[in-house]
Each structure stands twice: as structure tokens, then as C-alpha cells.
């Protein structure tokens, strides 16, 4: 790990003339580079590293050993639901019967694959209390956009074109307003009450015939269950709007409570959060979108249906159109299917309660050292507002950096924006009591260190491959490739 020599950039290991390959003899005759049009010729040498195979292998193996993931340690990244990805999911989706399929293959030859797709659609419908799902969107925010497009298409189908606004709570994930903007909708912000839930009195005057709908997560970004959800949904429905459920926080609800039963009309699910498919690093994910009865026609094309004993792709004229090539990220869809089938219906009911129990256990064990702005029972995650004793000037950022020294991934920090020193912790249901106790002990140790050795905490991390990075320079002046780095030096 962290070998100084192999810790260099691959370009810095380059030696003129060194090769990791041997090309066969060029048997093409009558081939003159000079005959190529000038415009197609490179003007300067290709700047590739010149290295032997062993150097390449050691370089990347050493680098990969510096990775941190759910497989290496506890990863309590709030709002991200970094749950364990069972290896049986990987085995299933790597089965050659699936990996060798081509999306343009004749339907008759891929009945099994379509059946799996159809069954997952139905399982998600059952788990969420909605009528129909599409698995086509590629990620959570893509699902949000698709869901909002369903909303727009629905209003347009009724000739109601003045609904151009969508209501979003001030505690929402940043993707909500971003998705609304991409969908051409204007955002109206509804305030939170001191306990973090939507302020119903602030919502009422915002509702009118220009409102296309409202986007919410429940539990919300602070991990608090929106107990007024029934009233909120009926107010929005009375105003002619639709309710959108952001599935980012579905995990604590799983098997216990269904968005469809709470009055939501449209939702997306992050398979990479709630259904244990890998995430982080930008994908691939998958963001299925579900709708209540009456909105099915507006889902994207194509859609997988069962016709007698046969599974087939259909294209609906009323659909919002296509949102992806073919039918979503199939490997991710297979992993989610394997997860649901492995856990089974009965055990699925325990996912939510265990996620909630773990979060509350950590919260209660640490609230004497860390500031808990919103008390009471949380759902799957909760937010501390920094250390309880801030007298030595140790910030949330310092605590997060110090956690790395102890081999834990840092929680989400400085989000949500409602608190200045937000530290957002989500353990997920998978972790053992020993792991949770280990984390609690380390957090208490850091709180003590913040009092006794504040300078040491402020300069953490001390044991990681790289020390504290310069966030400001990284944002202002990013150097992202070797050519730029060479220019710098």
C-alpha cells in the first residue's frame, strides 16, 4: 500500500523506449503516412507513458489498494445509503446467459431477460403501492427528470398548459430543483418548520392553478418522517397538482410504509441505494420510475408487458417519449432483482426497521458529544450540527478528516444547508453492533481529542496516502491531466 515509488503518476514512471508490448511485423505495403491529408496528421508526438507491463500492473494495483469502499470499511455517508452489495448479486448478473445478450436480439430469444425485467417492475409496484414502473432511467436524477416529464405530459394531455411551477422544500436534495429546471419548470420553495418538516401553513398560499406538483422525500433530508404527509398530499391534489416522491430516502420505509399509500402519484427509486446495487464513482446506477393508476400511459417508451405467456416491448403514443437507449442498465436491474429474491418478502420487512434502529442507536450514543439540533426518533439517518463543545474551533470538516485516520469513511458534511456544521450519518441496516460500537467509540475519541489536542485534529488526516487537500485551489484551479501538470512545473 501507498508505496512511494508506485505512488507516482504513471507518466512519472515513464522511461524513454521502454515497452510493454511487441507489435507484429507491418505487412501493409504501399502505405505512406505522407499521403494522408495534412489536416488529419498529428502536429506533435503522442505523449503516452513508456512503461513495461509489470510497472503498469504494480502501479494500478497499488493505486487500487488505496481505494476505500463498503467492502473495506464502514461508510456512513448520509443521504447516500451506502449499503452492502451482496456478492450473489454479482454472480447472478455475470452469468453468461445474460452478459452475452444483445439489446437488438429478437424478442423470442430473450424471453427470460424480459421476464426478469417484467417481474422487477411488478415487485417495485408492490413495494411502493403504485400501479406501474419503468426501469428505463439510468440514475436517481434521471428518474426525477423522467417523473417530472410524466407530470408535464399528464397536464398537457388535459390541455392544462399553465402549470409551470413545482414546489420543493428548502431541505430538499439539490437534484430536485436541478431536475425541475431541466424539465422547464420553475421552482417554488416551501419553508421547513423548526423540527425540519414541511410548514403546511407556508405551503397553503403557494398552491394555485400554476402548480404542476410538489416534490418531497419522506423521511426528509434530516431523517425526519413528514407526519403531515396526508394533509400535504390532499392540499396539493385539491389544487390540481401531483405529488412526486424522491426515492432517495426509501430505505427506512421498505416493507413498512408505501409512498403510494401516503398519497404520492409518481416516484423514482435508486436501485443503487435501496436495492443494494453498487454506487459511487458516477455509476452505473438505475432510477426506475413508478406511477399511480391513470398515469401509466405517460411512462417512457419502450415498456415491457406480458401478453399471454409472452413478454414483449410496447410503444405507447401517449408516452412522454424515450429517456434512454433500450431499457435501462440491465446489469443493475439484475442485481436489484437478485437482492429482492434473495432477501424475500418477509425479510424485506426488516430492512427499514433495522436501518432505523442502527441510526437511532448511533444518534443516542453520541448526542452528549455532538450537537443534535432536532431530537426525537429519526428514521434511517440524522444530522448533528457539529461538536457540542465548539470552544477549541474544531469544525465538522476537521472531525470528518480525523475519522479517516481511524479507517472510517467520513459522513456527509455541510449538507443539508439548514445547519452551519451539518454532519449527516446513515449507517444502513447491514452493520453489526460491533461495527456501530467501534464507530461510536472513535467519534467519542475525536470529540475528546478536539478538546485536548485541537491542533492535531485541525491538521488531520495524518495516516492517509494524502493529507488534507486544498479544496479552494482544486475548485479554482483544477489540474486534471498530465499535460497541464507539466505546464505548471
Amino acid at each position: 500500500m501507498n508505496n512511494v515509488y508506485y505512488g507516482k503518476l504513471i507518466f512519472e514512471l515513464s522511461k524513454e523506449g521502454r515497452r510493454g508490448y511487441s507489435l507484429p511485423e507491418n505487412k501493409l505495403n504501399n502505405y505512406k503516412l505522407a499521403d494522408m491529408p495534412e489536416a488529419l496528421m498529428r502536429q506533435r508526438e503522442l505523449d503516452l507513458p513508456q512503461v513495461d507491463e509489470l510497472t503498469v500492473v504494480r502501479h494500478y494495483t497499488n493505486m487500487s489498494n488505496n481505494n476505500f469502499g463498503v467492502d473495506t470499511g464502514f461508510y456512513p455517508l448520509g443521504s447516500c445509503t451506502m449499503k452492502y452489495n451482496p456478492k450473489i448479486n454479482e454472480e447472478m448478473c455475470h452469468h453468461y446467459a445474460f452478459t452475452r445478450l444483445h439489446p437488438l436480439q429478437n424478442e423470442n430469444t430473450v424471453q427470460g431477460a424480459l421476464k426478469l425485467y417484467y417481474e422487477l417492475q411488478n415487485m417495485l409496484s408492490e413495494l411502493s403501492g403504485l400501479s406501474e414502473f419503468t426501469l428505463n432511467p439510468f440514475a436517481g436524477a434521471h428518474g426525477e427528470l423522467t417523473g417530472l416529464m410524466v407530470m408535464r405530459t399528464y397536464h398537457a394531455s388535459r390541455g392544462d398548459n399553465k402549470r409551470t411551477k413545482v414546489i420543493i422544500p428548502d431541505s430538499a436534495h439539490g437534484t430536485n430543483p436541478a431536475s425541475a429546471a431541466v424539465c422547464g419548470l420553475d421552482v417554488v420553495v416551501v419553508k421547513s418548520r423548526p423540527d425540519g418538516t414541511v410548514d403546511v401553513e407556508d405551503l397553503k398560499p403557494l398552491l394555485n392553478d400554476e402548480i404542476a406538483g410538489m416534490m418531497m422525500t419522506n423521511p426528509n433530508t434530516l431523517g425526519i418522517f413528514e407526519h403531515n404527509i396526508a394533509e400535504i398530499a390532499s392540499l396539493v391534489h385539491e389544487a390540481g397538482g401531483l405529488m412526486y416522491y424522491d426515492g432517495a430516502n426509501l430505505n427506512p420505509m421498505l416493507g413498512m410504509c408505501r409512498p403510494g399509500d401516503l398519497g404520492f402519484d409518481i416516484m423514482h427509486i435508486n436501485l443503487h441505494k435501496t436495492f443494494s446495487t453498487p454506487h459511487g464513482g458516477g455509476g452505473p446506477g438505475d432510477g426506475p420510475v413508478g406511477v399511480r393508476a391513470g398515469l401509466e400511459d405517460f411512462l417512457p417508451n419502450p415498456h415491457v408487458v406480458k401478453d399471454g405467456d409472452r413478454y414483449t416491448l410496447t410503444f405507447n403514443d401517449k408516452s412522454l417519449g424515450s429517456v434512454s437507449g433500450f431499457v435501462g442498465n440491465y446489469g443493475v436491474i439484475m442485481r436489484a432483482y437478485a437482492y429482492i429474491r434473495t432477501i424475500g418478502k418477509e425479510n424485506m420487512r426488516m430492512v427499514g426497521p433495522l436501518a432505523v434502529l442502527n441510526a437511532n442507536y448511533i444518534k443516542e450514543s453520541l448526542k452528549d458529544c455532538f450537537e443534535l439540533p432536532i431530537g426525537g426518533v429519526c428514521k434511517h439517518e440524522f444530522v448533528f450540527d457539529g461538536l457540542k463543545d465548539k470552544s477549541t474551533g474544531v469544525t465538522t470538516l476537521d472531525v470528518a478528516k480525523r475519522l479517516l485516520d481511524y479507517g472510517f469513511h467520513a459522513p456527509t458534511i455541510y449538507f443539508p444547508l439548514l445547519f452551519h456544521e451539518a454532519l449527516m450519518i446513515e449507517p444502513t441496516e447491514n452493520e453489526s453492533k460491533e461495527t456501530l460500537d467501534g464507530f461510536i467509540e472513535v467519534m467519542r475519541t475525536i470529540a475528546r481529542e478536539a478538546k485536548e489536542q485541537p491542533d492535531m485534529v485541525k491538521s488531520a488526516p495524518h495516516t492517509t496516502p494524502v493529507r488534507r487537500l486544498d479544496d479552494t485551489q482544486a475548485a479554482l484551479h483544477p489540474v486534471v491531466n498530465y499535460a497541464e501538470l507539466k505546464l505548471e512545473n
Binding site: 455541510y414 449538507f415 444547508l417 452551519h420 479544496d471 479552494t472 475548485a475 479554482l476
Partner: protein
Amino acid sequence: MSKIVEGLYYSESHEYVKVEGNFGFIGITDYAQKELGNVVYVDMPEVDDEVAAEEEFGAVESVKAASDLLSPVSGTVVEVNEALEDEPGLINKDAFENWIIKVELSDKAELDNLMNAEAYKAFIGE
């Protein structure tokens, strides 16, 4: 302890207005820059754009977060502080010296809705 300048008007979203004749210089307070941390980008309107009280006119992005800028007053933008384009960190050096936009005020009565230095000091609890 954050710096607060006497004679300016302050909003609850931590913008200030410094009034000179019919013009107002709008920026974020020292308290706001401290809370944000190092500013890496300032999204500003263009000259001749209209701004309205309590409406968004731009954003400040720091290493921690991106925050909308809400105008404390209504009016027309007559100048933007172009120095912030190259060096957004000026806001961290001196938030009151480095205003963001200069606005020709359309309704001076709006200033009555804002806080004075003393009220703002109490508002941020310092």
C-alpha cells in the same frame, strides 16, 4: 466575532446594502463569508438587469456550498464588481470592501424593511 459596519442595511439572508445617493452597493456580510468558507465563484447578473427585493440575483459558491444571493432591494444593476470574476476570494479578504453589484434603487422605502447594524448584530447572535 464578525465585522459589522455601521450605517449599512442588512437582510436576514446576510446581504448588505451600502447606500450612496440613489445607488446601493450590495454584497454579503463578513458573517456570511465566514460561514461559507473560501469563495471560489460568484455568479453575478449583467448590467441593466432588474433585481427585485427578496429575489435571487446570483449565487456565491464556496468549497462548502453554493448559496443563492437574494437582493435586499429592488432596482437596476448599473455595475458589477468584475474583480470578483478573477479573484472571488476577495470576498473572504474583505466582504464589505468587495461589494458584488451596484444597483440604482427604484424604491428607497424598501430600506425600512432591512436591519441596521445593531439589529443585525443581535440577529446573528454576536
